[in-house]
Amino acid sequence: MIEFTFWDIVRNLLLATRWTVLLSLAAFVGGALVGMAVLFFRISKHKWSRRFASGYIALFQGTPLLMQLFLMFFGLPMLGLRIEPWTAAVLGLTFFASAYLAEIWRSGVDALPRGQWDAGASLGLHYLQELRLIILPQAFSITRAPTVGFLVQLIKSTALTSIIGFEELVRTSNAINNATFEPFKVYGLVALIFFLMCFPLTQYARSLEKRAAAR
C-alpha cells in the first residue's frame, strides 16, 4: 500500500482543485454566453419566444442538476457524439448556469423604468442598439451581486460532476479516502478548499449588495 503523508494529501487535492477552478470558469463563461441568448428570448416582444425561454428556465430550475448531468452524459452518445466526462460536465453546467443567469439578468431588465426604453427610442436607436447601449449595461450593473452569488453556487455545483466521473476535487478526494481511510481529514480538507474559494466571493457579493442598497 502507498503511504500518504499529510502533505501528499494536500498536494494531490490542490492539484485536483485546478480542474474544479477550470470547470467553474468554463461553465460560467459558457453559461453567460448561452444565458445571454436565453435572455434575448425571455425579453423578446414575441409571446412564443418568451414562453420558450420561460419553459427552458423552469425546466432547469425544476429538475436536479445531477439528472441534467446524467442526461448529458448518456444522451449525447445517443446522438452519435463520443463524450468524455469533461465534455458532459462543461455542457451540463453551462446549460444549468445559462438558465439561472438569464433569470437573474431578466430581473435586472425588468427593474429598469419603462422610460429607459422610451428614451432610447426617442433618440432614434433601434431595438438592438437600445439593448446594447442602454438596457443591458444597467441590467448587468444592478444584478452584479446575485451574479457573483450564483458563481459561488456554480463552484459548489461542480462537486456533482465527480459522480459522472470527472476528476475534480471531490472525485480525487474519494480516491484518496479509499487509499488512506481518513475521511474526516480528507473531506475536512476538501470542505476547507471549497470554503477558501467561495467565502471571498460571498463576501464580495455581500459588499456589492451593500453598495447597491446605499445608492
Binding site: G62, T63, L66, M67, V152, A191
Partner: protein, 218 residues
C-alpha cells in the same frame, strides 16, 4: 429510445419517489425548527453563540452539499458516531437547509416592527410568549415565499444522497438503468418525475401556506 421496461419499473420509481418525499418532509420540519432556534439565538443569544451560528451559516453556505454529506456519512464514524444512510442524509439535508433558512427566518424576524413586541409586552405577555405568539407568526408570513423556494431547492438537491446508497428516486434510477441498459430513457423519465414533484410541491406549499398563514402569500 425504448420504454418497454417502464411498466415493470413503476413500482421502483414510486418507491423511490416516496423516500424522496419522506426525506424532504423530515428536512422541512426539522430544518425550519432549527432555523427558528438559530435565528432567535443569533439575535438574542450570548455573544459566543451568536458568533458560532454566524460561522456555521458561512461554512455550510460556502461548501458543497455533497462534501457535507460525505463528511457526515464517512467522517463522523471515526468520531464514533455511526449513522444509517437515511439518517445521515436527513441530518445532512437538515443542517444544510438550516444554514440557508436561518438567514431567511432572521430577515423575517427583523422585518416585524418593534412596536409589535412592545405592545405585546405592555399587554403583560412574557418574552417567550411574545416571540412565539406575536413575532414568529408574522415573520413566517413575510418569509413564506422564500422558505418555499428553499424547500423546493432542497428537494432537488436531495438527488445527491443516492451517493451514500439511500434508496430514494435517483438511487432507484441508478439501479434501473444498470438493469435495463437504457440509461438515457431511465434518467429522462426520472427527471420528469422530479419536475412533476417540484411543481406539485411548490403548489402544495403555496396553497397550504395560504390556508395556514392567511391571505397575502403568493
Amino acid at each position: 429510445m425504448a420504454f418497454a421496461w417502464l411498466p415493470g419499473a413503476l413500482g421502483d420509481i414510486a418507491h423511490g419517489a416516496a423516500t424522496t418525499i419522506l426525506l424532504i418532509a423530515v428536512t422541512t420540519l426539522a430544518g425550519t425548527l432549527l432555523s427558528i432556534l438559530g435565528a432567535a439565538g443569533r439575535r438574542n443569544g450570548p455573544v459566543l453563540l451568536r458568533r458560532a451560528i454566524g460561522w456555521y451559516v458561512e461554512v455550510m453556505r460556502n461548501t458543497p452539499f455533497l462534501v457535507q454529506l460525505f463528511f457526515i456519512f464517512f467522517g463522523l464514524p471515526s468520531l464514533g458516531i455511526r449513522l444509517d444512510p437515511i439518517l445521515a442524509a436527513m441530518l445532512a439535508m437538515t443542517l444544510n437547509m438550516a444554514a440557508y433558512t436561518i438567514e431567511i427566518v432572521g430577515a423575517g424576524l427583523d422585518a416585524v416592527p418593534g412596536g409589535q413586541t412592545e405592545a405585546a409586552l405592555a399587554l403583560g405577555l412574557r418574552p417567550r410568549q411574545v416571540f412565539i405568539k406575536i413575532v414568529l407568526p408574522q415573520a413566517l408570513k413575510i418569509i413564506y415565499p422564500a422558505l418555499t423556494s428553499q424547500i423546493v431547492i432542497m428537494m432537488l438537491e436531495s438527488a445527491v444522497v443516492s451517493q451514500i446508497a439511500v434508496r430514494e428516486l435517483t438511487y432507484e434510477a441508478d439501479m434501473l438503468q444498470a438493469r435495463t441498459f437504457r440509461s438515457f430513457e431511465t434518467y429522462f423519465v426520472v427527471t420528469l418525475v422530479y419536475l412533476a414533484m417540484s411543481m406539485a410541491l411548490r403548489r402544495l406549499l403555496v396553497t397550504g401556506g395560504r390556508r395556514a398563514l392567511g391571505a397575502g402569500v403568493s
